[in-house]
Symmetry: C2
Subunit: 306 residues, 2 copies
């Protein structure tokens, strides 16, 4: 027979850890399941300056560890496994994982989102050898080198500005002739002398023998091919929600994010969602934590109903 | 002419301070207005155990100060004044205060809520002399004394359980014969030998010469009057939103809380609300902070529109 819990939290980022803290502190029998690293996306953050309460900032890894220790202090259990399915069934929801199956009276989905892949030859092969999705993690490795950033949104310009502190030159490659990023970021990027824009171009291949040394570009205007020598390439074309196991289970928007109301209810009784996996999430550590606490408060109310 | 800002944040609790941090860090010209103490309701919290990132807990006052310093580091300006009115007018919203009037392109309302008053003789006169709204603040002052808690909800029982660590006896006075509090709290309170319940009774007067020494009670069943000797009385009958200056300005629910969608929009262009002032807020420091960050992200998007 499957082991059962009052509450299972899927995902160990700020949303899941805060939900777990609140549930455990409320003396609920709670299990948190994380497939990768405790802390989630925040562990990619070299230094977090905007989590309130830390005026000097804090490393993302340390913040995740502090949150985990706090939840564990109150009795939260943690399992490292991948959730493969969720079958809602009133107070006997089935959670299947790579390790074991579980029954949960209620579930908080906090499985977050992940960086979108470009999907070109060389991307997977050269990951960690010049291909990166996280400037704050890997930027310092490219001191005085030429790097490229792919994308035209806030994330791409944020990455480019951060990289300009290290790299000799930052080429922002965008498939259109206009950025999607906010005005403030655009102004800052355009004022930064190290940042250059390559408009109307897509990357068709990332090349290098053991390490990235050039990108193959194609013009979106006239299909001409060119080659750009770079030592690193940062892919910043957005995020994808980790909801492939939830198709047909909870209401998703067209990008696959979970639709909730303002108290984290999914519309399926006993199933809540929190953090970056939600439609319209501001995708910040602090907003994810807030979501997690709200979901946990609602779970406690849900479980106290007859 | 009134001084103008890109964003005015009303209220200096966790919601307002986090909104202020985010706005200031985004290089917006931001003013936060607080009428009382920076930190808001959290400063009443002796020790905060459930703000993620602080496994050992932190005093509410210190948490508020850390948040304020962090926001100030990025350039947030703070004014101590009472906001008396808000007149929305596209990008020229008028904010009137006890000190001065201001124009703001956008406004985040984070003015929170406050403890509800009983409204009986002696309540105001003996405040701080045995009358309290915050067990975690004042509980330790009543070591080995008899105290009363008024109310029947989660807050009342949480206060009663906390007070049982200090007081010799805790009398919970409730006007009905059944509690509104959650099951877990009810079980815990009924198992605590120091906690006793006085059902179907209301307090009509708080009496004492310089300090509380007794309560006058009236039965809600038969109107009989009795006297209960106590050294302290903790009033835990709920919260009221600080929205009296917002009647007819933004949509409020029937209790006076601001109605927002899940991204803190009030329905009035450029006017956002965050934290305990919102309808359906979980009223936790961490959920308020999350709300504040979400509102700030939306403000930045709003201001970047042409």
């Amino acid at each position: 027979m499957s082991k059962s819990y009052q509450i299972i939290v899927i995902g160990g980022g700020p949303a899941g850890l805060t939900a777990g803290l609140y549930c455990a502190r409320s003396e609920l029998d709670a299990l948190l399941i994380e497939r990768g690293v405790i802390g989630g996306q925040i562990t990619y953050a070299d230094w977090v300056e905007n989590f309130p309460g830390f005026p000097q900032g804090i490393s993302g890894i340390e913040l995740g560890q502090l949150m985990h220790r706090q939840a564990t202090n109150y009795g939260l259990q943690t399992l490292l496994a991948e959730v493969t399915g969720l079958v809602p069934h009133q107070r006997h929801n089935l959670v299947t994982t790579s390790e074991d199956d579980f029954i949960a009276e209620s579930v908080i989905i906090a499985s977050g989102s992940r960086f979108r892949k470009l999907g070109v030859p060389g991307e997977a092969e050269l990951l960690g050898k010049g291909v990166s999705y996280c400037a704050t993690c890997d930027g310092p490795l490219f001191k005085d080198k030429v790097v490229a950033v792919i994308g035209g949104g806030d994330a791409a310009l944020t990455e480019a500005l951060y990289l300009s502190k290290f790299a000799s030159s930052v080429k922002v490659i965008h498939r259109r002739s206009q950025l999607r990023a906010g005005d403030i970021l655009q102004r800052r990027a355009k004022m930064e002398p190290k940042v250059e824009f390559i408009w109307d171009a897509i990357v068709t291949q990332i090349e290098g023998d053991g390490a990235v040394n050039q990108l193959r570009l194609k013009s979106t205007k006239d299909d001409t091919i060119s080659v750009l020598p770079v030592a690193g390439v940062f892919i910043a074309i957005g995020l994808e929600p980790n909801t492939s196991y939830l198709q047909g289970v909870v209401p998703l928007d067209k990008e696959g994010y979970i639709i909730t109301n303002e108290v984290m209810e999914t519309g399926i009784s006993g199933i809540f969602a929190a953090g970056g996996v939600r439609h319209n999430s501001a995708r910040q550590a602090i907003t994810a934590s807030g979501d997690g606490a709200t979901a946990a408060v609602l779970v406690e109310r849900f479980l106290s109903l007859p």
